[in-house]
Subunit: 204 residues, 2 copies
DNA sequence: CAATTTGTTTACCAAACGGTCAATTTCAAG
DNA sequence: CTTGAAATTGACCGTTTGGTAAACAAATTG
């Protein structure tokens, strides 16, 4: 059945990259087509609008990230080490992006989300859904840490939302200041936020 | 000498309002002129570009906010009460904006800052400067609280940057989720972040 | 009042933009 | 090898955009 193509995937990658580096509003459909080496006619063959493409690109990216999240937050890892792994990964990733692009890019969910949440309901919903899924990872780690007495008791869902706000807040500051070193001790600061104590010797 | 006008001020308020409600990129010069009831010719009489206007509008807004900051962080107020005052004000303000516009608008420094920090160096610098000035207020409150033994010791400038990341991070989440209730207990959560203990009875 | 400065208006331009379409190419399956 | 579905192309259109310029109106000053 006819010709095959990966132009849609090239468009999604190009769109996410550009929106991440610049912003949603600063990127035109022509820009995306140019980076993806796709003609505008083909763009409209696959997608209805820039908004449509953005939703698809965000979903695709989230699916690709899932494996990383699953590994970092594997139940076989000690709960606080999961959080450490996530934070350290974030720092390394931002360093890599900075050396590649020259800019601290931060988190596209937050930068794009904050930009267009009041303009495009579809994109807002998609970003909310991805953020909610991510929060689940934090929440389970917090719950497990509480079981082990490493974090004070209290609604883990609430704690997860707060620690996510802190984590994303730090990343946003790093982007605004174009300073990746803000994230150097991210793990330490996030764990301190959770009042995490170092593991105590178990008393039998 | 010559005609007088406040068109420039109308343009600055219109620009900030629109950028805050939508985003920097979603607002055109025509949009700004329309809301300010100023013809485009007059726009270019006062400003060179949208970027120029944005910088002026941010600076003007920061000057207007200064009185509020000075009052909230007055040294005559107990240090932790300054932080409480700021957080409670933020919640009330976001509630008011939400009832007026129907949307949680968050903090323009962060939403606009995160949007265009990698596209417009002038705006980034202006926002960085305002954020740095705001951080000073937090820092002095933290330092005074440490003197009174209400917050654990440790570099107050560092603590201020972290608590600002948390504070702004919560506001960003409220914007993305269009949910102002995320900020209801902002003061409590921010103070918890600082490990603030309730004032202890002094032992003489 | 005349001259000058300051601000306003209108019309206009070229470029960029989102979006459409019919013609065409590619390729897999019968 | 044909046929038809899937994908690509390039030309095209109307609108919006940022930006300019020259004529005009208002207020200040001497």
């Amino acid at each position: 059945m006819g010709r095959t193509s990966n132009a849609d995937e090239r468009l999604m990658t190009a769109a996410l990259d550009l929106m991440w580096e610049e912003s949603y509003g600063a990127v035109s459909i022509d820009d995306i087509c140019q980076r993806a080496t796709v003609k505008k006619g083909s763009f409209y063959y696959f997608f209805d609008s820039k908004s449509d493409l953005a939703v698809a690109a965000l979903e695709r990216s989230a699916q690709a990230q899932k494996a990383i999240w699953d590994e970092q937050f594997s139940p076989t890892t000690a709960p606080l080490d999961r959080i450490r792994a996530r934070c350290d990964y974030t720092y390394r990733k931002q360093v890599e992006l900075k050396t590649r692009t020259g800019k601290v890019l931060g988190c596209p969910l937050c930068s794009v989300g904050s930009e267009i949440c009041n303009q495009d309901e579809k994109i807002r919903e998609k970003i909310q859904a991805i953020l909610a899924a991510n929060t689940k990872y934090w929440e389970s780690a917090i719950r497990d840490a509480q079981t082990e007495g490493l974090i004070a008791p209290g609604d883990p869902a609430m704690k997860a939302r707060c620690v996510l706000a802190y984590y994303e807040g730090m990343i946003t500051q790093a982007r605004i200041h174009n300073d990746v070193e803000i994230l150097r001790d991210l793990a330490t600061q996030v764990l301190a936020h959770l009042h995490a104590k170092e593991p105590q010797p178990l008393v039998a």
